[in-house]
Amino acid sequence: MSQVDTHSHTDHHDDHHDHGPAKGLKRWLFTTNHKDIGTMYLIFSLVMFMTGGAMAMVIRAELFQPGLQLVEPGFFNQMTTMHALIMVFGAVMPATVGLANWMIPIMIGAPDMALPRMNNWSFWILPFAFTMLLSTLIMPGGGPAGGWTMYPPLIQQTGVALPFLIFAIHMMGVSSIMGAINIVVTIMNMRAPGMTLLKMPLFVWTWLITAYLLVAVMPVLAGGVTMLLTDQYFGTTFFNAAGGGDPVMFQHIFWFFGHPEVYIMILPAFGIISEIIPTFSRKPLFGYESMVYATASIAFLSFIVWAHHMFTVGMPIAGQLFFMFSTMMIAVPTGVKVFNWISTMWRGAMTFETPMLFSLAFVFLFTIGGFSGLMLAIAPADFQYHDTYFVVAHFHYVLVPGAVFAIMAGVYYWLPKWTGNMYDETLGKVHFWMSTIFVNVLFFPQHFLGLAGMPRRIPDYATQFADFNMISSIGGFGFGLSQLLFIYVVIKCAKGGVKATDKVWDEPRGLEWTLSSPPPYHSFSVAPEIK
């Protein structure tokens, strides 16, 4: 951050954006700068990742052995619920938004985000929203414990915490919608001359489509949780059969949001991977246009598959068949992506720096998560897997070595650009290998547990599940500790180290590499020329 001032005087073109950053706390509270806001999003996400991670440690510690040893079952349920809410809304989403904030204006040659003040508000709602959500843990009756999916009537036993949960979700929704609108408008209106849509980096493309998903589904979640609130406090009967409503209707509304939500978390990850693999394969991305169309197809399909999360509720058979086949169809565009990444590497002059290692692990391990997803898509088979640890293993494979690994790959890839310093490659590789080994020790045995019938969201289990649970917990503790190393590497890099060149890597593509490392506080006040 110390170099930022030296660049700022070179690029003010009117009276409005002069100067470098303001001093002290004011800089961060009042900032309209996409880089500052991106940094805050990323730091916030890391804090939430560790908070949600601590809750995961409580869960794995309790499950280390059969029987109840450490926590009350009620508190265990609060941990599973809060872990999910925090990781989804607090860790993964803000991390990808942070990367979008930092990189999109630079990648398309824009001076900043299109709506900079609103950008600040999108971020600054989040710390308040999560303060509100976390505060429920110390309320009478504790935090929400009915699972992050908030199914009624169970969630309506929450008590004091319920309105806090619902209003915290409203705040996160407001933040996400504003952030997404900003990203769409930036991409559609702020591209440098010559940067046509099909010249945009894939990270920009995936975020454009993600932002569209966010604007489309966050309001639906808001509507759904509002109905929960009025059912609880104002006597409505949306989810109560006695009044003509249906508790299953909440599941439809929730998953109409929830399924696009999983693509909101993974599409930006696809974009990051599509940036990194070409750089370290020293080849352009294979099938660029098919990547764009595949992303758009996945986004479209994500709206018509939601009920595969609820095959066991007693849907009409036609509904089960429709949602089964539409879900399986998603494998086609996803397969296009995976094969494109592999084809990009084919005959490339590959090297294996930390971002590339994370990307390779992503391709391999995300695909495992995709395959278990295909198994779950088969309605008759899902009757067996539903609500077991197989589901837990599936979505953790796509989210942890999927989304989280991609975010870490992106952080390692762009950290030298952000800070001007190279990170410690040796420690980065140690972090990678520890994470990759432990994440598999953690989640792979959960497939076996689920297939053998162990239910999810439960603090105790039959002794037949003891061995795999112990292995999984050891993996969990190892994975948790490995992330402390990640924090150390990031802080060490921010503080100093070998100076990074402007290009950082060997002939990477994209406008971000034409700027200095770190880039000036205001970049591209004059739009670059795109050939």
Partner: protein, 289 residues
């Protein structure tokens, strides 16, 4: 006034309004939650939050208006605002879609199922044997007691006329602003929000009538739930829209906007047409069919 319009994209200074807004939103949300939990301070904290948010909006929009009038915004900034407003309205469409989706779901699926449709013969036989599926309904348990439904051909039809007329008056106002006819603009913009507030007033009267004469309340089963949630959120949006129109009217009275540069007016006009279209769907599916 806009002669010195810059060529560079306007990137504003740091602003304190967003963080003020966050504090306001935080107190509003904590206040509302505590209020629902019957904590004495809840109502007051909620009102403090509302006050902070109103201050924030006045200050923030005030900044934007001052910048706009000083010519800081070039055509590209204008385009950002247009796109931003369009996507915001799209998000509002999706919010209403959740409630309309709930309405269609209960009418076409869950209520018939409770009556034994499809493979739900035993649901009806074992749980709600006397229940005959029909719409409107307050459910097999007669939740909220006997009630009468709201007839579409009284006040709701008048309200439809009022909103459609207001859609026409704002279009006249828009043509007036483009032709520089300020007098016509001021009159027709005034008529638009006057009709808007009249609509809200009549909705208020209709609610009074529903609660006091028809025993139709939010707790009248799923008919009451969908009726009041959809009309209620629509009414809130009309109120907000009418307030925004009033603000724009004060601006036109002060001489703001140019024939070729009046995004603030257009944004509110788009919003107004949006609440109009929602009302038409609402009139058809909530009141009429």
């Amino acid at each position: 006034m806009l002669a010195k319009q810059g060529t560079a994209y306007y990137v504003p200074h740091g602003s304190h309004w967003p963080i003020v807004g966050s504090v306001g939103l935080f107190s509003l949300m904590i206040g509302a939650s505590s209020w629902l939990n019957e904590a004495a301070f809840g109502k007051y904290l909620f009102l403090v939050g509302v006050a902070i948010l109103v201050t924030m909006m006045a200050g923030w929009f005030g900044n934007v208006i001052a910048e706009s009038e000083s010519g800081a915004y070039n055509l590209q900034v204008d385009k950002s605002f247009r796109m931003g407003m369009s996507w915001f309205i799209f998000s509002e469409v999706m919010f209403f879609a959740a409630f309309f989706g709930a309405l269609f779901y209960v009418r076409n699926l869950s209520v018939p199922w409770l009556g034994g449709a499809g493979n739900n013969f035993f649901t009806n036989l074992l749980n709600w044997e006397t229940f005959q599926a029909a719409w409107p309904t307050n459910g097999p348990a007669n939740v909220g007691g006997d009630y009468e439904t709201m007839s579409p051909w009284g006040l709701p039809a008048i309200n439809t006329l009022i909103l459609l007329t207001s859609g026409a008056t704002i279009t006249v106002a828009h043509h007036a602003i483009k032709e520089g006819n300020r007098r016509l603009l001021n009159i027709f913009l005034f008529l638009t929000f006057a009709l808007g507030f009249l609509f809200v007033g009549l909705q208020g009267y209709e609610y009074y009538h529903a609660y006091n004469d028809l025993n139709l309340t939010m707790a009248s089963g799923v008919y009451g739930s969908t009726f009041f949630m959809i009309t209620g959120f629509h009414g809130m949006h009309v109120t907000v829209g009418a307030i925004m129109l009033t603000v724009i009217w004060f601006r036109t009275m002060k001489g703001h906007f140019l024939p070729e540069h009046h995004f603030g007016f257009e944004a509110v006009a788009w919003y107004w047409h949006f609440v109009d279209v929602v009302w038409l769907l609402l009139f058809i599916f909530v009141y009429w069919l």
